[in-house]
Amino acid sequence: MMQPTGYPPNQGPPAGQGSGYGGYPNMPQSTGYNQPPGVPSASASMYNGSGNVTYAQPGVLQTTKQMPPATSGTMPTQQPPPSAMNGYHYQPQYQPPMGQYPPSHTGYGQHVSTAPLGGHPPPSHYSAAPAAPTQPPQQGYGAPPPVSAGGGGYRPNYSAPPPPTSGQAGHPVPGGPPGTAGYNQSPGPQQPSMQPPVQGMQNMQINNNASASYAAPPPSGLPASSMSGITPGYPPKPGAGPGMQPSPYPNPNAAAPTKRLDPDAMPSPIQVIEDDRMNRGTEIFKTQGRGLVPPLVTTKFVVEDQGSASPRFIRCTTYNLPATSDMAKTCMVPMSLSIKPMARLPQGEAPPLIVDPGAEGPIRCKRCKAYMCPQFSFTDGGRRFQCVLCNAITETPHNYFDHLDHMNQRVDKFNRPELCRGSYEFVATKDYCRNDKFPNPPAFIFAIDVSYNAIKSGFVELLCRQLSSLLDHLPREGNQEHSSVKVGFITYNSILHFYNLNSSLAQPQMMVVSDVNDVFVPLQDGFLVDLQQSRHVIESLLTQIPEMFKDTRETELVFAPLVQAAVQAVKSAECAGKLFMFHTSLPIGEAPGKLKNRDDRKLIGTDKEKTLFAPSSNFYEKLAKDCVTQALSVDLFLFPNQYIDIASIGQISQLTGGQIYKYNFFRADIDGDRFIKDLAHDIQRDIVFDAVLRARTSTGVRPVEFIGALHMTNTTDVELAAIDCDKSIHVQLKHDDKIQEEYGAFVQVALLYTSVSGQRRLRLHNINLSVCTQYADLYRSCETDVFMNYLAKKSVNLGCQIATAKIREDLLSQASVILAMYRKHVASPSSPGQLILPECMKLLPVYLNCLLKNDAIHSSHDISTDDRAYLRQLILSMDVDETQLFFYPKLLPLLQSTTNDDGIPLAVRCSEDKLQDNQVFILENGVSMFLWIGQAVDPTWIQNVFGAQSAAQIDIDLGSLLVFDNDDSRNLREVVSKLQAGRTRQMKLTIVRQRDKLEPWFRHFLVEDRGAGGAASYVDFLCHMHKEIRTLLS
């Protein structure tokens, strides 16, 4: 967005034009649009259709916002620069004193909203801008004539024709040109202004004043002009901005402190989410055609499977693949798919239909073995079909033959899900089974730590009390009355205790295995039992366990032997399984896999930091492989009071498709409920076992990297001991060759698995992607949330091999390149001094900053090594929704009447600026939840909710909310439970009082602010990125 000011001297006018705001202008430029009229127009229309004209442009990103600049131009006067910039681009505005906020605010908001609208917005913008202008003109500015000039330059364009034209024109016609023209002009004038680069620079500094670091670099690196560009860019809107700056300049001292960019002027996730919700929330997303960009993950929408997989199963970083690897390398936009093959669908969307192809098995391409899908085309009257992946032609088996209609579509197309759906399942034949034998139903093994710590923390007692009822909800297939999942129990400390639960027994038999160095399963029948038949024995056991160990003094624990035992158990039972391990401390018992405390906090922030997150040896990796070989997935429920080396033991669950739950300093009274709910969710959720996932792609690209909770023994097959409905996997594609634009690209993801009833099935997801040769098209079809998901996973994956600093550097540079290439190839006409972001990626900077400052990636001393390792593991299995929320938490003001349809308050930006004394906020990131209570909150509310007189008297150790029969209490609990309902794990609720000792921790999650340890605020970061981009461009 910087555009405003930036008047890169160099670029001549021509360049200038692109950018503008808008996308419009760009559009024209972008050949893509123009050239293939068909395509572009189509796309354009689509967008239009959607309502957000602007969207179409997004490609360009920038956003119409530019308009503002014009305005700004017009309003030289405006002092309140802040409001201006905003747009999508980053604009360093200098914000005047707080007072100005309001105006800026509004301006901003409008911008955003307008942006999408394209044409319309302009007006609003303008209006906004004007508002700003109200302020005194840039007097300060005045000093630096150039600046002012620049502003002026803009204005012209804007003020007059540009705004209107650009916006509206864009659509109808490649309005671009006009708009651009307008822009161009501006540059011209600006250039001169630029000259006083110094000033610009200085301005920057001022802005950044807080973050000195940023300020410093600019001067050195960039041409002064650029700098100035930035600042001005800002101004556009707030024309004032620039104006302001100058003033500060002149009067350095006084002005400096007050100035800064207005965060509200920068692209806001809240706004983007809200806009998308408004615009696309009601549509039915039909997966027809190729390369469709679905609504954001935060938007509720309905999907109709029309032959391509629902975005609930597959989302991509870009739905329009670059045609050549050169193109891909240049822009550095990854081609990556986030696949959540077992995703649970909302009500109203039918799960994939199951097809029984009979004894012959599913129809497959004879060459590449792709499965029959809607994209296969039948020829020769239906006697042959052509594979969409490899183009090989295969004879249609006799019993699969059907005639074609006049459209060359099979007559029975709509009777066969594999011919008309994007996602469907085949019942597998024996050929698809282990040892050519149909599998047995899987088993759940519960392994309970009964060491001193475990007993003392109370979870054993709690677990044993609750487990019996939780077992009623073992996963079962739709038509089953009872689950066929078998259950088994082990307890352990320094030795293992197995239990014979044979239904013929009156009481359980405990079998102790002390030989932990060479562990074995002491029984076969009776260990894994049918819940229904052995119910009485199991209940007796669960009563006995806490009793038996209540006086234990054993503190040594083993870990690996237990897993080995479970592996053997499922092996001898010839079934797949899932191990639920409830574990308290570092396994120091004399046994394989013994660990020692290697938590050396001195390493944090050094090159050796990565060793903290690398496993201590490859022992656990090998063990995990054994688990995968036997299809045993391991979920860890950890209750540590100290270091437990998650980096090592966590591999067990990470590689086996499992999950870690962690309850630090567990106390049954506080954390018990959360733990039991997590466990309940874990037990009940849909899960499949012994799975192999394979992604097949059409020629030109191939999958090269798979990231997630998975294990691979070769380069193509993802082996998953189990995968549940919450797990997602990232697959990165790479070019093999040039892809033909007209054919598009096609990906078929096949998941072969054993269901909870022991049925062997194949689930297929097919997705059609477009291919483009124009960058503009590419940038138009990106999805930032998926991209962030990818970046997060990739960073975590590399986290134990590469120094943290390097990872962060790489992230930043990749993002910079992406944005810079956009500037170069799509929005080149704009002035380099402007920060122009593609519409689809306008949140990239804010999200990236959130990622960089996230505890998982950031070298933080505030959080234990284990917690960081834990977060990393979490991230690896997170899907796009979860990463979105995790990196940019939701901050909800509770005491206000505006709520969305669900009755949940509208979120505000994660910044302390939004906090108000008299307000109560909920902040949630999917992992934790905070309830922040302002000092001036109405005591009645506190009384109603906490039964306390004042905030000071609230018991903040409460693990959950008290229940009172009044609206406030009900309302709060309702909101909390609604928020919780959508999460895969229970969030720990922390109550924070304003200015209380916990508040710094809470503020840690206000990701737009400057964080502890030098983490940049959004504003600073945006400046920094801008600088990076300009460096790249220059």
Partner: protein, 769 residues
């Protein structure tokens, strides 16, 4: 003392001892010419109802190298209150407590009839005997059920103060914790792994301090010593209900046995764990490991045969040819275990019931070295096993259990005599002193032996050597003296010492050969020679043993027979030698030395029994007794000869291992015709019943219970009779169709006793040898 016969019997009655020679040749040279070595069969704990309970410690010779115990054969000076040790001639003062003694006021140990005396020690409250049951679970349901019932029944027979423990095994080995509530708990071990005692201890959590009880609900407070081991070994009165229930719930080994496979059975590992458990918890406390097995060990240490049924279990042929890979390793394993058990004074009993072999051949050392019991049967579901097992816990006339533990037997000899060694169920304690002969016979090189388990019928064969030189005269009236001191733990847990002191006269063979000859005890000699022969056949010269026996017999005949050279018809033997050749004839044919037709397990079992039974039983084993029942008169013992098999007679054969009733051809026909059911043939019914009653008497007293067989002429089981009898009539010397008198010919190529004797005489009188 009328005859030697009476003298011998009286001595046996009193001291439980039978010497081969009751008058001893006075020089080493002469002694070696006696052919049958100077030796005795000694039953250390022979049941004596008349012994007074002596409640004090015995008085020992003060010479540190002697320490013999005061006995009636000592010379006592009542005035100076001094006694002379009759072994080292040390003069010892009586302790102060004996101040009151006089010729008329003697302590028991000086009263002549108490050459055998038992002292009962006082000590801390003893820990009751420990019974650790080690149960096989790989067997048929009925067998398992029978075994469980037998065990449950046995709980009521055990001493009240007994501690019991339970280990079960199949593919895995489970050590059961006793007395847990609400849940049964066991420690499981892999059957393929041999663990050192220390590892076992750690894995069972026994290395923890006693006062940190581990996860043991219901573990009582005030056990005598609150040892962790109490979790596994608990007093019977505390846990008998629990154990009964536990046994009731005991299931067959849950691991499936596939077609063509043997059950996987970890006998070796289970036994190792049992031994290890006791070793570290109750060393030197009276303890029995009672191992029940329904088949051979098929995995892990001590494995006898592998799982596959394609491989048959080793036969004698395989063992002789050394072509099976498991036997040697298994023997080594079990020997190591037996040694450990013996060292800590624990007994291993083996109850093996299976139709096929179970590995007794390899495991025999476990019983022979610890003095344990070995019982071999076809199934746990037979009366043979059930009654035998019940008898393990039988009580004597005083109501005391017929078992004693951790016995250490020490032998003291007067100077003219040294000890070669012992053959019997015991191990050497390696206590060397001047009485130890350089020539070892049996277990030698020591004067102390340990038998972890002894019962009142256990008899040891003790081989002595006269070392007096030919030219060193024996003092006039001097007697050779031997003292047996047996320290043991009574079944009540009390420590006791049994002292037996015996003396025999010397005779100079050159002048008094007649005395020596007269003192020959042919029964004892036969048994002692048999033990020696069996021992040798197992240890050194297996196949040559028959030749050795023959040579010894011929030499005996030459030495003591009365004949003219080269005139076999003139050969005569004294009456007290007359049966000896016959014993040897039957011994040669017995299953102790003839392995043909027997599995290694059977042989091991037979030999085991022979090595520990007393004289009477041993003789029965060598030469079974045969009674004949007919209308002609009362039952009479008849020759063990095929000629005794008559059509109109019923025979009762007692070979110790079998009690067999054989109906002659006619009797059988009558029976089949049902005459015994007719009132008018009441006498026939009685005739049929008589041997059955007698057999029941035998069965009732014998341990282990013999196999009881009823058969008839031509019956398949008659083979047991036919192969024992002297084949005086065979198909070679008889017409087909049988003798007119109805006796049955035996189909064999073995020589008959007659032929044997003829040859013997011929060789004995031959001047060429």
């Amino acid at each position: 003392m009328a005859t030697y016969q009476e003298y011998i019997l009286q001595n046996e009655e009193r001291d439980g001892i039978r010497f081969s020679w009751n008058v001893w040749p006075s020089s080493r040279l002469e002694a070696t010419r006696m052919v049958v070595p100077l030796s005795c069969l000694f039953t250390p704990l022979k049941e004596r109802v008349d012994l007074p309970p002596i409640q004090y410690e015995p008085i020992t010779c003060t010479r540190p190298t002697c320490r013999a115990i005061l006995n009636p054969l000592c010379q006592v000076d009542y005035r100076s209150k001094i006694w002379n040790c009759n072994f080292c001639y040390q003069r010892n003062p009586f302790p102060a407590s004996y101040a009151a003694i006089s010729e008329t006021h003697q302590p028991a140990e000086l009263i002549p009839q108490f050459t055998t005396l038992e002292y009962q020690m006082h000590g801390p409250a003893p820990v009751g005997p420990v019974f650790l049951f080690v149960l096989d679970t790989c067997m048929e349901e009925e067998d398992l059920q029978a075994m469980k019932e037998s065990l449950q029944m046995s709980l009521s027979l055990l001493p009240n103060n007994a501690l019991i423990g339970l280990i079960t095994y199949g593919r895995m080995v489970q050590v059961h914790e006793l007395g847990t509530e609400g849940i049964t708990k066991s420690y499981v071990f892999r059957g393929t792994k041999d663990l050192a005692a220390k590892q076992i201890q750690e894995m069972l959590g026994l290395n923890k301090l006693p006062n940190t009880p581990q996860n043991q609900p219901g573990q009582p407070q005030a056990a005598p010593q609150n040892l962790p081991a109490n979790r596994f070994l608990q007093p019977l009165h505390k846990c008998d209900m629990f154990v009964t229930d536990l046994l009731g719930e005991l299931q067959r080994d849950p691991w499936p046995v596939s077609q063509g496979k043997r059950a996987v059975r970890s006998v070796g590992a289970a036994l190792s764990i049992a031994v290890g458990l006791l070793e570290c918890t109750f060393p030197n406390v009276a303890s029995r490991v009672m191992l029940f097995m329904g088949g051979p060990c098929t995995q892990g240490p001590g494995m006898i045969i592998d799982e596959s049924l394609e491989h048959t279990i080793r036969s004698w042929y395989d063992i002789e040819k050394d072509n099976n890979k498991y036997t040697k390793k298994a023997v080594k394993h079990y020997e190591a275990l037996a040694t450990r058990a013996a060292n800590t004074g624990h007994v291993i009993d083996i109850f093996a019931c299976a139709l096929d072999q179970t590995g007794l051949h390899e495991m025999r050392c476990c019983t022979t070295m610890t003095g344990g019991l070995m019982v071999m049967g076809d199934s746990f579901n037979t009366s043979l096993f059930k009654q035998t097992f019940q008898k393990v816990f039988s009580k004597d006339s005083k109501g005391e259990f017929n078992m004693a533990f951790n016995a250490v037997m020490e032998i003291k000899t007067s100077r003219e005599v040294k000890v070669n060694g012992i053959i019997g169920p015991c191990v050497s304690m390696n206590a060397k002193n001047a009485s130890v002969s350089e020539n070892e016979i049996g277990i030698g090189g020591t004067t102390q032996w340990k038998a972890s388990g002894v019962d009142p019928s256990t008899a040891f064969a003790v081989y002595l050597e006269v070392v007096n030189q030919h030219n060193a005269p024996i003092p006039q009236g001097g007697r050779g003296t031997v003292q047996f001191i047996t320290r043991y733990i009574h079944s009540s847990g009390q420590r006791r010492i049994r002292v037996t002191t015996v003396a025999r006269n010397w005779a100079d063979p050159s002048t008094g050969l007649a005395h020596i000859t007269a003192g020959f005890d042919q029964e004892a000699a036969a048994v002692l020679m048999a033990r020696l022969a069996i021992y040798r056949s197992q240890n050194d010269d297996g196949p040559d043993i028959l030749r050795w026996l023959d040579r010894m017999l011929i030499r005996l005949c030459q030495k003591f027979g009365d004949f003219q050279k080269d005139a076999s018809e003139t050969f005569r033997f004294m009456e007290n030698f007359s049966l000896y050749p016959q014993f040897m004839f039957h011994l040669r044919r017995s299953s102790f030395l003839q392995v043909f037709g027997h599995s290694p397990d059977e042989t091991a079992y037979y030999r085991y029994q022979f090595d520990k039974q007393d004289l009477t039983n041993s003789l029965i084993m060598i030469q079974p007794v045969l009674y004949s029942y007919s209308f002609n008169g009362p039952p009479e013992p008849v020759l063990l000869d095929s000629a005794s098999i008559q059509a109109d007679k019923i025979l009762l054969l007692d070979s110790f291992f079998q009690v067999l009733i054989y109906h002659g051809e006619t009797i059988d026909q009558w029976k089949k015709a049902g005459y015994h059911d007719k009132p008018e043939y009441e006498n026939f019914r009685q005739l049929l019943q008589a041997p059955v009653d007698d057999a029941q008497d035998i069965l009732a007293t014998r341990f282990p219970i013999p196999r009881y067989i009823e058969t008839q002429h031509g019956g398949s089981q008659a083979r047991f009779l036919l192969h024992k009898v002297n084949p005086s009539q065979t198909h070679n010397n008889t017409m087909w169709g049988g003798q007119p008198d109805g006796s049955a010919p035996v189909l064999t190529d073995d020589v008959s006793l007659q032929v044997f004797m003829d040859h013997l005489k011929k060789l004995a009188v031959s001047s060429s040898t």
